[in-house]
Assembly symmetry: C2
Homo-oligomer: 232 residues x 2
């Protein structure tokens, strides 16, 4: 019990520190000054989720987008995450309870759950720290890959739980969503299905607080979408 208590104390501390830090960043006016040098230090978060490896055109397109961005911004740093190669677990009931802050504090939290909760927080953090997120979110078997869904579950629940506490956030994050190119069934996805797929994604990212979202289906559209960075 003593040990469990300390463990619980630790995760609550870690989460509290994170929430306080976030609040500090969100409310302190000082950070806005740092924004002046921000364009030089552009953070790119590049995420792939199609399970088909290099065959996938979604991977080729996210790759092309990241290459174009780094070519235009020499100081850019890229963080790459491959959700298919290193999948997150399916978000379990207990994990959802912890990250949505509904965990009953009387129940000891095991080490695995604690690690998963902290990982979820750091996933949201790396998303929030990015200036541009290049995300491969293809329609595979009529919806997003399950690995991408597991990632979205964590971010959406965490954002929902902390949205009220944290107040206004940065609203200049650009998300570039590549929605085509993980076809396995050999069918061209019908326009209507793609429209539904993209609408659901748009709603999800709106929920994450994203105001600048571009959908890219074809390589030809990529150029136009990346124009916003040329101007910056």
């Amino acid at each position: 019990m003593e040990f469990a208590g300390r463990l619980r104390g630790k995760i609550i501390n870690s989460l509290t520190i994170y929430f306080k830090l976030e609040k500090f960043i969100a409310t302190n006016l000082l950070w806005k000054r740092f924004r002046i040098v921000y364009p030089l230090l552009m953070n790119i978060l590049h995420i792939d989720s199609c399970a088909l490896g290099d065959h996938s055109t979604s991977r080729q397109m996210t790759s092309a987008a990241t290459a174009a961005l780094t070519a235009a911004h020499e100081q850019a740093t890229v963080l790459y995450r491959d959700l298919a190669a290193s999948p997150l677990s399916h978000a379990s009931g207990p994990l959802l309870q912890v990250i949505s802050q509904r965990w009953d504090a009387d129940i000891p939290m095991n080490a695995e759950l604690r690690a998963e909760a902290l990982q979820s927080v750091s996933l949201l953090q790396e998303f929030d720290e990015a200036d541009v997120v290049v995300l491969g979110a293809p329609m595979h078997n009529f919806s997003v890959p399950s690995t991408l869904k597991a990632w979205m579950d964590r971010l959406l629940e965490l954002r929902a739980a902390t949205a009220i506490a944290l107040g206004p956030r940065r609203n200049d994050v650009h998300v570039v969503l590549v929605t085509a190119g993980c076809g396995m069934l050999g069918l061209e996805p019908a326009e209507e299905l793609m429209h539904h797929h993209e609408s659901q994604l748009r709603a999800a990212f709106r929920h994450l607080g994203i105001q600048h979202l571009d959908m890219v289906r074809q390589l030809a559209d990529l150029q136009q979408v990346l124009e916003f960075k040329r101007a910056a």
Copy 2:
């Protein structure tokens, strides 16, 4: 190499036997005679996927549907599968290659992959053997739960790979989809989002060969949907 060769031989044999059996059942006219006693031996496949346990109204609704069906058919057998409690792994690239019959036979298959492939086949088999499938497919974070997606990936890819080889199939399977009731974000899902969610599911099950599909959002609708069984 010798051992790997034998392993490979085994899985190919297992899959081949399955495909042959399926073909036999699908093409042999004799099986139609057995259909006479079928209504007495109704097979119900009951699947839940919401991670929120008994709080989830989708679980309460699938449960109510199964209870109503078994009450009307005393001889019914129920197979229950809880995708949240016993999640399937995310369908990996190699697994998708195996079940869509694109695996390169020169590459040895490891035991885990072989087990996953055989499990996928048996998942499709239990789906095909059901007369009624009662499936909790709620919209959770803007799409199906990732655990349900992992299940659908296996069935859709396997069906696509075997559709041409097997010819006509049973077309009297009823699927009852419960699409509401796994809300975590505390928002009532907008009508438009629910419409998109249901359209994608409808397309997926059409792809699985399902002609009788009912969507249920509210407990009140369940009664009407289950009428088809009263008539049978």
